[in-house]
Symmetry: C2
Subunit: 109 residues, 2 copies
C-alpha cells in the first residue's frame, strides 16, 4: 500500500440545521472555498451535496474536501485567523459533522 | 459553482469494531481495492487512516474513497455480485459508518 507523498486530505461531512436557508449555505460554501486564497497551506477545495441512493448517509447532506501538503499544513490552517473566523460562522449552522484527515493511500496488486 | 463533468465520488467513513485485527483490516482493504478490477464503473480507489488533530472525527478511524463516472455507475456497483459479496464481509466488522456520494464541485470567484 502506497501513500501519495505528503498529500493530506481534510474531509468534512456535514448536516446543516433544518432552518438554514439555501442562500446562507451558498454564502458559507463560497466563504469556505475562499480560504484557499487566504491560507497558504490549503491547496484546493471542492464540495458536493449527497446524491447517494443506498440511504446509508446517516442524515449527512454535504461533503467538503480540501487538500494540504502535510499534517503541519493542516495545523497551520486550523490556527489561521481566517479559518477561525470562518469556523465561527459555519459550525453554528451545522446540526452535526465529522472532520477527518487522511493520507490517500493506494493498494498495489 | 462548477461540477466536474460526470465524476461522482463515493465516500465511506468508518470505525472498525474494537476486536477487529489489523491483519483482518488489511485484508479487507485489499478486497475493497480489488473491486476496481472486478466492477467496470468503479474507476479508482484510495483510503487512509485518520490523522486529524482537531478531535472532531467522532470516533471514525478510516476513509475510503472511490470514483465513478456517473450515479448510474454507482447503482451498478452497488448491485454487482462482487460488491455484494465484499459488503457482506466488510460491513459486519464496522461499528459505525457513513456512505455519501457527491459530485465534486469547485467554486469560481
Amino acid at each position: 500500500m502506497e501513500e501519495a507523498k505528503g498529500v493530506v486530505k481534510h474531509v468534512l461531512v456535514a448536516k446543516f440545521k433544518e432552518e438554514t436557508l439555501p442562500a446562507q449555505i451558498d454564502e458559507l460554501i463560497k466563504g469556505y472555498a475562499n480560504l484557499v486564497n487566504l491560507i497558504e497551506p490549503m491547496k484546493s477545495f471542492h464540495w458536493g451535496k449527497d446524491v447517494s441512493i443506498e440511504n446509508l448517509h446517516q442524515g449527512f447532506t454535504h461533503v467538503f474536501e480540501s487538500a494540504f501538503e502535510s499534517t503541519e499544513g493542516i495545523a497551520e490552517y486550523i490556527d489561521h485567523p481566517a479559518h477561525v473566523e470562518f469556523a465561527n460562522l459555519f459550525l453554528p449552522v451545522l446540526e452535526k459533522f465529522v472532520v477527518i484527515d487522511y493520507k490517500p493511500t493506494t493498494v498495489s496488486f
